[in-house]
Symmetry: C2
Subunit: 416 residues, 2 copies
């Protein structure tokens, strides 16, 4: 493949994670080194939206120390978006605009960091640019706490959220059993359609301080069955901890909050139903049925932004994913997402695997049914073997006056 010289742009898309900026650090640091191929490195404000509007920053003017701090700075430093591109067959407006921008700024390297929807965006742009005969290397950098991206063993962002969930569940476990009275705690964990995050609570149980019951969206949710599960544990132990995914649905396809207030759910740009309130609804239901003290806890945004509790393995792998995307693109590869695989046997190591973008886009990977017990209310040792290596090591964040010191980017706009 011929050497391609031009500028590079990087964008962050979808929900933030504790380590999405580690991938940004990987892309930026490597791209700034590749001076024989990449002339300028741009960071797009709010992903594809910034690219369409020509709002991007000149990363070459950033202090390298601050780029290093990006590794341990949570959320999306450049801003994110949930902008959905139309199919090019239906409407080429955005694609033509992007091509115009790419030409204007001689953008020849396009790196996009996100989950399912973002890889779909990345794939569509890649295919359009190919069709338009505009030479540009396009690489997807995976990111999602949901861990539901197809073709990769796991996704950057998942392990840090899993470590947060396991650690926090362990802490809540101790807190929820200090009194000599009965208590039921319902912990609501993120995950629209895949139960990877909720399943991670089993790591707390593996340590002896975990949930008694785990409900994932992979199994139809039956509220009567849950009540009898909870009663069984309660009658024996007087303390029950339930981990439940925000995405569990009845076999009729209803989410828990819908069981209470039918049709009262708003819809976001991608057509996902906005969830929340599952813990509260279930806690109130159990209080009414069992009559003891209950507490509903939603791990909310904390589970995806807790950089102070990130997995060191995850930080390093996220950085590696960004770095690899740049190296591969410079070596002539395009139209791939960087993924991970692990050895079939033996100790865990993270190996790189390139996955064609069109096979990733819009395919969701779920927790295998055989990793969930027959009753559908717990997760077995196969999940523990899978997840445990990913949460190893404690990320060391920079501290100033007892509080996090995060990257401060200058964000110098590229002149239009």
């Amino acid at each position: 493949m011929s050497k391609l010289i031009g500028n590079a742009i990087f964008g962050q898309s979808g929900g933030p994670t504790a380590v999405i900026n580690a991938s940004a650090a990987g892309v930026f640091t490597e791209a700034l080194k590749q001076t024989g191929h990449i002339e300028k490195v741009f960071g797009a404000a709010n992903g594809i939206v910034g690219m369409l509007n020509e709002v991007f920053y000149d990363i070459g003017q950033e202090d390298p120390k601050e780029l290093e701090l990006l590794k341990t700075t949570p959320s999306s430093a450049l801003g994110s978006c949930r902008y959905k591109l139309a199919n090019a067959e239906d409407d080429e407006t955005d694609y033509k605009r992007l091509l115009e921008v790419f030409k204007k700024y001689n953008i020849r390297y396009f790196f996009y960091n996100g989950g399912n929807d973002s890889m779909d965006t990345c794939n569509k742009i890649s295919k359009f640019l190919q069709k338009a005969n505009y030479e540009c290397r396009v690489m997807g950098v995976p990111k999602t706490i949901d861990n539901d991206l197809y073709g990769t063993d796991h996704c950057p962002g998942f392990a840090s959220a899993a470590k947060y969930i396991a650690t926090t569940t362990m802490e809540v476990y101790l807190d929820a059993r200090v009194y000599d009275t009965g208590m039921i705690t319902v912990i609501e964990i993120m995950g629209r359609h895949a139960g990877w995050l909720t399943a991670s609570s089993v790591l707390a149980a593996y340590k002896g301080y975990g949930p008694d019951l785990i409900y994932l969206p992979e199994v139809d949710f039956d509220i009567d069955k849950m009540l009898s599960d909870v009663k069984r544990v309660y009658d024996k132990e007087k303390k029950v901890i339930v981990a439940v995914s925000e995405g569990v649905q009845t076999k009729e396809g209803k989410f828990i909050p819908e069981l209470v207030s039918e049709g009262d759910v708003s819809v976001d740009a991608f057509g996902h139903k906005q969830l929340g309130g599952t813990a509260t609804v279930l806690a109130n239901y159990l209080k009414e049925k069992i009559g003891c003290k209950v507490r509903g806890i939603e791990l909310s945004l904390m589970q995806r932004c807790a950089a102070h509790l990130a997995s060191k393995a995850d930080v390093e792998e996220s950085y590696l994913a960004g770095q690899t995307a740049v190296r591969c693109a410079v070596d002539g590869m395009t139209d791939y997402m960087v993924g991970f695989q692990r050895p079939e046997n033996g100790a865990y190591t993270c190996e790189i695997k390139l996955i064609p973008l069109d096979t990733v886009a819009n395919t969701e990977k779920k927790v295998p049914r055989e990793w969930i017990n027959k009753d559908g209310n717990f997760v077995n040792s196969k999940f523990i073997e899978y997840a445990l290596p990913l949460i190893q090591g404690e990320s060391q964040i920079a501290i100033e006056e007892g509080l996090p010191r995060w990257a401060r980017l200058k964000k110098i706009p590229v002149t239009k």
Copy 2:
């Protein structure tokens, strides 16, 4: 004062904290060293309830390494209680029973770890034992995330919760502003009557990543005023973060959830109203009035049990409080709570101060009005100067396989 030889008992009471076990470690380690005064060291199961029921453990049989791990193990290792003693003038039953137990086990040292209600219990027992001419040294060890104990500069447990709140608010701040759309986030923080914890969110603002508005229970809450405060920030910034205490009340004395569902609040043993739902109620209200995306976040139990994010200063001071209680009792002191003071001028250091139990019991210390701005919607630099030294240093918890390794006590029961 004559030398007093006998056994010692220690109990934990009230809500757990991230560092209550650090005080237990301080009491146990020191008491086990004082072999010339203290023969056996007992830990009561569930505080005063375990003492009344003769359920306590022989701490001398615990592995010293596990007692050391108690320093970084959250929640109450011995179990807690919210048992309220009657006034001795009204009903002496429990007091007589305690005296019987103390005599049976030759308990001559009584250490009790808790907040306002627990210091009231401690004081009542101390006075009864004096009246009964039973020689026993009684020392209170302070504990409360609420920081509302009278007579001490601050309370063990507060600073770790404050550090959790400040760090988490910083993380949520970044997460809540990744999209280029409007968003209001309401963070609900613990504190029934005093706003110390909610005020701690200002430390995040001090770092540049904090709430725009802070509402404490020290100021009457006006929902219309809050709406206009939020609108003002929203119109300018399109992002608003509100930190609100679960305990804010209207001038008519109504909590936020009561504004919605009058009279629908259960009452616990101490007559406190069970709160919760403040963030959800306010978020829904703001969504209706302003129409943008909102998110209500309750920091729930996490803010009081997050040992992984404890303040090192707090861990050390909590240990010191327990250790000091034992040393003072052995030196002949009784009927005091161990408290802290800081120098009037110069750098922060933690100095010990003994406070008579009867002046502590049932008096609540609130955030001074002059530390809150005139508008009642933010906290000023006086609070920052006060709180910042307390959250310094990062507690290093023991880690095993990427997750916390907590103390495992044998809890060998003392034979009746």
